[in-house]
Amino acid sequence: MAKILIVEDEQPINNLIKKNLELVGYDCASVFDGAAVSNALASNRFDLILLDVMLPKLDGFAVMAQIKDTPVIFLTARSDVGDKVRGLRLGADDYIVKPFDMMELLARVESVLRRTQKLDKTFILGEVEVDLAGRQVYFKGARVDFTPQEFTLIETLIQNRNIALSRDKLLEIAWGYDFGGNTRTVDVHISSIRQKLGWEDVIKTVYKLGYRLEARK
């Protein structure tokens, strides 16, 4: 599992990011000022660093200069174009402007990790094994037929596991913005996946919201 270092001085936000990342299965460590980053890097190897720009003691740009080959996503409160450009010039892989949506943060984290090939290639839960790279699903060792749309949906659920996703959000992520269908489509696909994998209890229906893939360790 990918290891992520969170550098953010606002304790509530640091904690919030950590909780969400842990929910979908990443290992996280938190530091609260710029000076602590080098220590954290010395004792641990991280696959990604989430770095706030405005930090006490040493600001994000200065910290950036110390980071050698770990991918970085900048968190910036200022929607200042100059900041973004400066961050990207310094070698950041991406940036997110505060306040950000958790879903967005997760998507960007995942995108950077995929690019650096740090994402898990398979997801195993009980007797189900999902080969994320080969886009195949196995149940009790046997391959199960999945339509491409069904696979995209299960992939979305896995990547945001333990988080309830609304039907609209699922439509947006798995079908795309321009998909004209209604939320009934989501229900139909979910029940098909449940049936094929015996996941009636694993994909939970969340009251008045949508669905959640429960994969607590």
């Binding site: 936000i13 909780k19 969400n20 929910l23 930090l55 409160a77 306040p99 996703l165 607590r216």
Partner: protein, 460 residues
């Protein structure tokens, strides 16, 4: 305007000049002519008298009267022709007799004469003597003088035109500057000024113009500063709102979408509550700031020892936790002010002092009240904490200004405390001055200079 003034003045000048010239030349000509006519008449009388006496003599002695008369007249004519006078004698019929003499000015072609016609005295009244005085030369001379005068006048007029133009240009120069400067100011160049030397009306006008420009520049600057300040405030406010809102939104989403244990649930809800509290504090402080705008404190008499005791009491727990000593230095008994506001002012300043102090037991906060020779009354709060960089001192009372660029909220402040303090001081007619040295401490002094304080607080 300049051209109009020039034309009007110059026209007036020309009219006066040439009228004078005309009148003078007419009078001169007339008097000259009168003189010549009088002279001619007198000379005519003399000639007529002399001629008639000669005729009388001639009649007595002459044998050939007709020839003698001719010879006599010819000699007269020859004699007077030398002085440009032409004479002729004519016999008249009885019916043609003239009375007295007639003097007239006549001209034949290019020649001008004064003609005097009359009968000779008795007994020769049937003889008419015609007298022509040739004044062609004189007239020509007069014309020449007139022409010279006219030429001089014209040259003089041209010279005047030039001088007048130069003078007007000089006079109107400041006006041109004023109009140029006005245009520049209208296009936004508010620092435009005019320099005019001297002590005339135009200099006074430019002075007024400059002071008007000063005032406009000052007011524009004030407006700009105010707008900048407001923009800064809005930017800061947006930032201050964003951080708690990110937390509230994030935790609420988290609560909604994840399955949580009881501990996590309470923790997440706790964050939401804390951040909401923080937002409420900001809202309250902003409201207080707004209420204090233009507010004049409702003054009551406050006991200084009582006031300091209250502060000590409120701060005691947190001071004890950080091992900070609070020293009260009371050199005045009472203060005129609004109790809640003064208390809030002191609490804010003391809290800042506390946050600045080290917690290793060396932290000292001094709270003092002083009367300075009956001139002013001051409250001051000093600490020996980490101090404030010089470049930040002037911005401390700006809402949401934070010395630390990372703007961390480790002490939970709203960023409005000192803005409030400044407003409270203002409401009491007092000034808030903060002096600081990095790593050695900060002193905040509130100086009351209103007569109310000074009058009622003789040195204790």
């Amino acid at each position: 305007m300049r051209i109009k003034t020039f034309l009007a003045t110059y026209l007036l000048f020309l009219v006066v000049l040439f009228s004078c010239f005309g009148i003078v030349s007419v009078f001169m000509t007339r008097s000259q002519m009168d003189m010549y006519m009088a002279h001619s008449a007198a000379e005519y009388q003399r000639i007529a008298g002399s001629l008639s006496r000669d005729l009388a003599v001639l009649y007595g002695i002459s044998h050939n009267i007709a020839d003698d008369i001719n010879a006599l007249v010819t000699s007269y004519m020859a004699h007077y022709a030398q002085s440009n006078v032409y004479l002729s004698l004519h016999a008249m019929g009885l019916n043609d007799v003239v009375d007295g003499i007639q003097v007239a000015f006549v001209h034949y072609a290019d020649a001008y004469f004064i003609r005097v016609v009359g009968a000779l005295p008795q007994p020769f009244s049937l003889l008419r003597l015609d007298y022509y005085f040739d004044i062609t030369q004189t007239i020509a001379e007069m014309r020449r003088v007139q022409n010279i005068l006219l030429l001089i006048c014209t040259v003089f007029a041209a010279l005047t035109a030039f001088v007048l133009y130069v003078i007007l240009a000089r006079i109107f120069k400041p006006l041109r500057f004023v109009s140029q400067a006005s245009r520049n100011i209208a296009t936004g160049n508010y620092s435009e000024r005019i320099t005019v030397h001297g002590k005339n009306e135009l200099a006074a006008m430019t002075e007024d113009f400059n002071s008007m420009a000063d005032e406009i520049e000052r007011q524009m600057q004030a407006l700009k500063d105010e707008a900048d300040g407001k923009q800064q405030f809005v930017d800061n406010f947006a930032h201050e709102m964003r951080t708690p809102l990110t937390s509230i939104l994030g935790y609420a989403q988290y609560l909604q979408s994840a399955t949580l244990g009881e501990g996590e649930l309470i923790e997440s809800a706790g964050y939401i509550i804390d951040e909401a509290h923080h937002l409420r504090n900001i809202a309250n402080s902003l409201l207080t700031l707004a209420t204090l705008r233009g507010h004049t404190a409702v003054a009551g008499v406050l006991s200084i020892p009582q006031l300091f005791d209250d502060i000590r009491h409120s701060l005691e727990p947190s001071l004890a936790a950080q091992n900070i000593r609070l020293i009260c230095d009371i050199q005045a008994d009472t203060l005129h002010g609004q109790a809640d506001l003064i208390k809030s002012l002191l609490m804010n300043l003391c809290t800042n002092a506390r946050n600045a102090c080290p917690s290793d037991g060396s932290g000292v906060i001094t709270l003092s009240a002083k009367n300075i020779a009956g001139v002013s009354f001051s409250l001051s709060i000093s600490d020996n904490g980490h101090g404030i960089p010089v470049e930040s001192l002037s911005k401390l009372t700006e809402p949401f200004y934070r010395v630390d660029p990372a703007r961390n909220r480790e002490h939970g402040g709203t960023g409005l405390g000192l803005a409030l303090c400044a407003r409270i001081a203002e409401a009491h007619g007092a000034t808030l001055v903060i002096e600081s040295t990095v790593n050695s401490g900060t002193t905040a002094t509130v100086t009351f200079t209103t007569p109310l304080q000074v009058d009622n607080h003789s040195i204790t």
